[in-house]
Amino acid sequence: MTDFFVDDPFPDEENKFDHIPIESRRLLARKYLDTSEKLLLSLVNPEDKVGLIERLDQIRQLAEDQDASLFLSEEEEAVQVIISELRKTELFHDQPEHELSVLATQLQEMFPPVGEPFFQPFEDKNGVYIIDGKTVICGMDCFTLRDSQLEEDEIPKCVAGDEIDRISVGLTAKSRIFYIKGDSFVDLISLLPSCAQSIIQCVMGELRETMDFLRKERVSTMEQLRLTRDMLENMGIGLLCINQAGEIGQFYNALVEDYLDRKSLAGVPFADMIFGKDRDALRNYYRALQMLFSGNLFDPEMIISMLPNEVTINERIIKLDYFFVQDRQGHVQSLFVRLEDLTSERFIAKKEEQEKRIIDAMHANIGGYFQMLEDIEAALGQAQSFFDRFSSGQAKGEEENVAGLMRSLHSAKGLCGQYELEQLKSEIHKTESFVQNVLNEEIDVDAFKQMLKSFKKEFQYAVSIKDSLGKEIIRILQGINYSQDEFDQLFNAVNAEEHDTVRLLVQEKTMVSAERIVDNWSKDISSLADNLEKKIDFQADIPDDLKINKNLAHRLNVEMGHLYRNSVDHGIEFPAERKKAGKHETGIISIKVWEESKILKLVIRDDGGGLDNSRIILAAKENPALDQQEVEKLISSQEIWKILFLKGFSSRKSVTQISGRGVGLDSVKETLDEIGGTIRMTSETGKGSTFSVNIPINTN
């Protein structure tokens, strides 16, 4: 028989157990022997068994002899120690002695290395643990939601496997831990009915407690969810929830019904409501949704970024935001969608932009704005009294009054344009049409009344913009140089709402001499003439006390330049031609400026060859950019000169070196339209052409 054992009964790895108390070492040794015995016996041949058993008995005798009494008593003692530990626990303290002693022998006492967890990961977590007198039951599905940052003396009755690690790291330094494996525990139930019952009751109690806790959590979570939903509703935001199939859940607020224009939304597929028939959008949406709920491998945030952020439903622009709820393993449970109506926000943004433009225009010419308000108020008054007379049957046939009213309205309209007051301009225009039609046909009194109301409303808006500046007016006015006295005067006038005074005081500072209109013209005309080898003089007749707004002067300086350029280019003939026609070799371009009844008048004249109507008509007919119907109309009404001002006329024909990039008379007309001005052209063949320009202005 082979010698399997050495004399020393204790295994070579004895030093591994140095830290274990001596009384328990013997217990371990004994167990080791028992286990080894079983193992050996199962390995050896039957004929070797007897000899082996003899040998093992010898070893056992040796172990026992060495310290027999001590050994036995220590083993008993060990069991007693365990029993007394068990009695310290709530669970076992009044269990029968015999059950406890069986339990004690089954319990493994554990001596993990100091500071480390007391079992290997993924092993043996299920079971009953008794740690320092407290019983801990650990199972896969028993869990506590209590905070796992445990104090040293606070051990819950029931923990989840991964929390054992955390507890054990804190405890193993000084704890005694007894452990019974989950499988053995199951066997023990039959052996220890009383103990088992306590343990089960404990587990059930824990479960009940946990379930109650979960129930309360759920109630409070649902409550919070409901509050959030209602709060969002108050803020004008819709909230709904969709499941994996894209169906809307029970949980949504009333705004959603409003936005989607449908009641009873539970179970309805959300995508179909927002994409309608757009198959591509639907396909993409459902695909993303499927991926979102498909597991926890893909980042849900990334998938959500593929869902649409904005949709239009029933002409409303709706913003969509998404939020997902996931479990602890990262599986998405549900998807929440937030709906916000951006339509009015966008509308307001547009309105704010417009208001800013109005304020900027007002800043540029605040005196003018005040004047405009006065003029429009007057026109509004005239329109109102006209309406009153009309509705009581008196107005028909009073053409003079109508003409006066029309002029006021027209002039007011032009001023509106200067200050970007588009809606007010359109109301005035409507009023003009109305009043014009009054002479021709029956007008609906009610409609007229409504229209006046809108007119008034827009006017009040224009006033409110001025009012909204409040103290700001002072700051704008401060941008202009005032002496202290001047400023005091102004300040008082603004506070007292003396518009006239304010206007006067401001205009003094923002007005310039009308002579500025022709700044640089003389030089420009000279050089243009030289380039063409023509001889041209420039004359200006402008009263030196005539003052107009600085910006207007500048604008006219630039825009009216097209008129003299036209004269240089097409008006004044070459010196030789002029001589032949009996004219002075040097041609004259002249401008006369004056003011009459709040209209600024400019007359720009040249003594050139005048308009050649046939050439104009030919050029017009050949020009594809022109509306030929318009052309025909003008030809038949004998207003050939108007063809020059048609949009697109100059863009091809008169692109010469002098006239530049094809910007011509049509641009002049546009500019004048914007500021409410008009232009006429007259011409005498051989003698010259005259431009007559009228512009409504504020006067001092």
Binding site: N284, M291, D299, M302, I303, M306
Partner: protein
């Protein structure tokens, strides 16, 4: 969550302009170790030579596309775990879906934008950490 700014980043794009802009943007964000590759094959070579902690590749490249590069990387043990950010031209959901299934970590729409790029890099690492923190069963 700390992102190691010293990490090795590989940028793959066939446009030289984009490559230099990308390097500059990353440098400004505090990532100095950026290697550039002008196509998929070069990228694979570089991946053999050195360990990278992040690959940012354009979707549309001749010969080997961004998605093909991704697939090749995911096939090999050494490069399977390397975070991959795909740069897409316009929202083509078909291609993005393919990329996700092939194992892309995240995608970013052109043009290259400093804030978006940083947010995407942070999100990639944040999601990896979320995955690590999931309780073990």
């Amino acid at each position: 969550m700390e992102i190691d700014k010293e990490m090795n980043i590989l940028v793959v794009d066939d446009s030289m302009l984009i490559r230099s802009v990308a390097k500059k943007i990353l440098k400004n964000l505090g990532f100095p170790n950026v290697t550039l590759a002008d196509d998929g094959s070069t990228a694979l070579e570089k991946l053999n030579e050195q360990t990278f902690n992040l690959v940012i590749a354009d979707m549309n490249m001749p010969e080997i596309s961004g998605i093909e590069l991704l697939k090749k990387m995911r096939e090999k043990e050494e490069t399977r775990q390397i975070p991959f950010l795909l740069v897409t031209a316009e929202e083509s959901q078909d291609e993005i879906m393919t990329a996700i299934r092939a194992g892309v970590n995240n995608y970013m729409q052109k043009p290259w934008n400093v804030k978006t790029l940083m947010a995407k890099i942070e999100r990639i690492y944040q999601f990896e950490e979320e995955k690590r923190n999931r309780p073990k069963i």
